[in-house]
Symmetry: C2
Subunit: 189 residues, 2 copies
Amino acid sequence: MALVHTILTLLCDHPASGYDISKQFEESVACYWKASQQQIYRELGKMEGKGWVAFELVPQAGKPDKKIYAITETGHQELLRWYQEPTEPTPIREDLLVKVLGGAYLPNPILIQELQRRRQTHLEQMLRYQEREAQYQSNPHPSLQDRYRYLTLRRGIRYEQDWIHWCDEVLVLLKQPDGGVQGYNALGG
Amino acid sequence: MALVHTILTLLCDHPASGYDISKQFEESVACYWKASQQQIYRELGKMEGKGWVAFELVPQAGKPDKKIYAITETGHQELLRWYQEPTEPTPIREDLLVKVLGGAYLPNPILIQELQRRRQTHLEQMLRYQEREAQYQSNPHPSLQDRYRYLTLRRGIRYEQDWIHWCDEVLVLLKQPDGGVQGYNALGG
DNA sequence: ACCATATACTCAACTTATTGAGTATGTCAA
DNA sequence: TTGACATACTCAATAAGTTGAGTATATGGT
């Protein structure tokens, strides 16, 4: 499971609390790894048990104590081991495609609406990513870490663009009265 | 969870055994929904409990009896209900991107090798999909179901192409001695 | 004063997915 | 004849992910 290894990779850059890591997931990792705060806290606990990370308690005024985690030597070893393992593509599970598969059994306007909504979602996500891209490109001397992070951002941008293009392709066919894909037969009424 | 609804959608076309459904997943659904045989059997059991499918036992010589499942009226209702629910994009979890993120901490040749391997994997998958595309296009009168299935295939083809393009983009940068992304510092040795 | 949002972490129940074994047999090729 | 692969299904353990609540306080806006 790569969640552990994603966390370890982030900790290579600098020590961080579970909360910090969760923030990093939201703002830059989300385009290729999604994890909830709960998951991150749970994994950090397990990783600490294995000696891959160690934490320092930082007392805070008013708030619960911070646990600042750092990667250990054992953690580095585990990470390097994992980096050298071959990686397989992640199996995909995409609800929208199931709806397209069932296109013959659902009202056409609903499918079109769904595709338009999705196109919009991906467009917005792409614009957010492109802002980050512009930010990166405005920095004349990005760090090595930033340069690699940028490559993952490129993946995110392409992914969103690709969805938009596919949605457009399908919408053209669905809206075509002839020759395209038509013929919804209402089920059970 | 869309596994149930994917199975229901497949059963709309014609009744099938768990084994048949599993085959269909492998040969045409895999590009957007991956499920193991065990999962399919388990879900069919639960779906039967809810009255969404019903099976007929077909005795076989030598082999275990086949359970031929068909979608029920209740199943159709459930499917239509689900079709009308809005769909959110699936969160992505992609190991390879985690490795790219950690590019500064892993030996460059390993990362390059992984990317080349992945490019190859996606190329092969794309070629398989394109065969199916050619097959579809050679049929002058595809069924409505086939036409929708083709739209999902288009998603698969685009997805693979997009991966190939990204791999190429990244490989160019990684192989560039200057100006690109270099500078692996060996960890712990 | 009140509400939303942010910080920072914990616990528990639940669903979903993975892995591996087990039961039984038929076909095809080396 | 041995082994690989296909048919056809079941059971069980574990891993991973989701959902929701709970503890505590600070800040900023209406």
